[in-house]
Amino acid sequence: MSIFVNKQTRLIVQGFTGSQGTFHATQSINYGTNVVGGVTPGKGGSKHLDRPVFDTVAAAVQDTGANATVIFVPPPFAADAIMEAAEAGIRLIVAITEGIPVRDMIAARQFLEGRDCVLIGPNCPGIITPEECRIGIMPGHIHKRGHVGVVSRSGTLTYEAVGQLTALGIGQSTCIGIGGDPIIGTTHLDAIKFFNADPDTHAIVMIGEIGGNNEEIAAAYIKDHVTKPVVGFIAGQTAPPGRRMGHAGAIIAGGSGKASDKMAAMTAAGITVCSTPAEIGQKVKERLSN
């Protein structure tokens, strides 16, 4: 098993014919993902990568039975693309786009309220269930099928953790990059709940970074509800306050969002907190063998 995506996932690509959409759709197809088509307004009726192109998400859903979408639409149009997918009944929306204005995301999140769909991202690497389904921009080949669930706000730091796990022979059930923006869909807490309920996930890696209090909220839940081993890391222990560290959401503001607070909350919840990203794989191995 896995969470959110598997062999049954039928994926469309919004921004299908653009350079990013084309490149990553190709990678996903090569990985074995069931890409059933794509959407580029104005190019409906044509074919791209041997798959049908539609003008609207609604048309794509009607014709292909798609249940997931990945969004490569440029920032000014990305929130609109998210809402279009939700309205068309897509159950899983993965928004890769970086740089969406916060005001647009406030509206999009409000629009999604009460609808039966899950948003991952934006500004995220996507989600992968190894050897089944790759949605996003991560390098597929570093992953290995197995039983560790990975959830992270960062892209390459997730690859770092996954690379270490795979090198140690430890596979992953599902890896989710939830994104580096201040407003995101799926949070650490949401992902942890799903991993906890998934019988095929035996341990969880939770990677956070400075800014917000997403990690503290997840830690409080883990303390009370999760018995699976959890290994964590927080990036930005050396980041100065008041500066945005690359990700729009990675900022210590008004005294909150500090790495030290997050690490303390996680430690108090029984999470094994790594002091450097170099030891994530090893700590998982230790927790699994105990």
């Binding site: 005001r103 390098p139 892209g155 970074e209």
Partner: protein
């Protein structure tokens, strides 16, 4: 994007928030003219992006035009040191000369994003003039909050709750509510990520006014605000950071001596953390992004090396989209072109890593290739000593 107080006040005024009469001055002559126009009883305020200007000596109340000229001479050109500027301070290049007003009481108004809710929150406090972080820590009950519902906006009843709640007198409530509604509108329509009025003042005559204005604009939304493009003040930014932004490189200068070049924000922070853990101090944060090309790598290298404090360089790349061979070629070409004399430690993992390592080995440069992040951090800390 941060902007100056006087620019923030101009935005607020445009939306109907009352602000004192005032003028920006770039020279003492301009300050003198402004002081004359305002009648001599004025406040001369240093315009830098950092807060805490009053305590640092950047704000002076004057009683005559001659006094105002004296104050302007002192403040203009000074290195103003506040708790937000760092020990080197920030040079003052602009002044705001404003009418001095008889203040009855100071309050705080602010709007920012509540990340957990995904909605903006309007805050008000009776503890004006103090740093709101301090109030939040010591007496959080003194900060009142109203959530701004998306699509609906701040409602007058919410503004009334806040205005009465912070103890404004009955005769000033309507004016305060009007100012709050205007502030919310300014925030929303400007795509602000922060708007603070601290202090928001009640005057002796019952009027209310924004005595200060701190407005940050969401960088991602600047494309739809061409009217704000001119508000960016490059003098307030680190020159290396400005240079890096020209090449879409995410660079932040820090105080250490180990430069680092990394792909991805999370891994870049993690790299800084492990340098510190190994006993070193990072000189910067640098995220070259997921799809960096050779040209960007070269410029990144040039910018890292132009920080004279740097003693060694760590390159940490987890190749996904950015292939290790592309990175290696970029690094080698940059080294040839720029003539790098400092020790360089390279750690690569991921797509095409073997080819990347071969390019580094055969380059003829004395680069150290590290095995894993821990090894890389230890090697670069040794090299910097």
């Amino acid at each position: 994007m941060k902007i100056h107080e006087y620019q923030g006040k101009a935005i607020l005024a445009r939306f109907g928030v009352p602000v004192p009469k005032g003028k920006v001055a770039f020279t003492v002559d301009e300050a003198e003219a402004a002081a004359k126009e305002l009648g001599g009883f004025v406040v001369v305020k240093a315009q830098i992006h950092a807060g805490g200007r009053g305590k640092g000596g950047g704000v002076k109340v004057t009683k005559s035009v001659a006094d105002a000229v004296e104050a302007s001479k002192k403040i203009l050109g000074m290195q103003l040191i506040t708790h937000q500027t760092g020990p080197q301070g920030q040079r003052v290049r602009r002044l705001l000369v404003e009418e001095a007003l008889p203040i009855e009481k100071e309050f705080y108004l602010g709007i920012t994003l509540d990340r957990a809710k995904g909605k903006n929150v309007f805050m008000a406090s009776s503890e004006g003039g103090m740093e709101i972080e301090v109030v939040a820590e010591h007496s959080p009950e003194k900060i009142l909050k109203e959530t701004i519902e998306p699509g609906v906006g701040l409602q007058p009843f919410q503004a009334r709750n806040l205005a009465f709640g912070i103890g404004l007198p009955a005769g000033s409530i309507n004016a305060a509510v009007k100012a709050m509604m205007a502030l919310a509108k300014a925030y929303e329509e400007s795509d602000a990520s922060l708007a603070e009025i601290n202090p928001f003042i009640l005057l002796k005559d019952g009027r209310v006014m924004a005595l200060d204005a701190k407005i940050n604009i969401d960088d991602n939304a600047l494309y739809r605000h061409p009217e704000y493009a001119d508000l960016r003040d490059l003098d307030e930014e680190d020159p290396l950071e400005v240079e890096a932004s020209k090449f879409q490189l995410n660079y932040i200068k820090l105080d250490g001596n180990i430069a680092c070049m990394v792909n991805g924000a999370g891994l870049a922070m993690g790299t800084m953390d492990i340098i510190k853990w190994a006993g070193g101090e990072p000189a910067n944060f640098l995220d070259v992004g997921g799809g960096a090309n050779e040209e960007q790598i070269k410029n990144a290298f040039r910018i890292l090396l132009s920080d004279s404090a740097v003693k060694a360089v760590l390159i940490n790349i987890f190749g996904g989209i950015l292939r290790c061979d592309v990175l290696a070629t970029g690094v080698v070409n940059a080294a040839r072109e720029l003539g790098i004399g400092l020790p360089v430690v390279i750690r690569m993992e991921g797509t095409n890593v073997e080819e990347g390592k071969r390019i580094i080995r055969e380059s003829g440069f004395n680069f150290q290739v590290a095995d894993g992040m821990k090894d890389a951090a230890e090697k670069v800390v040794r090299a910097a000593q």
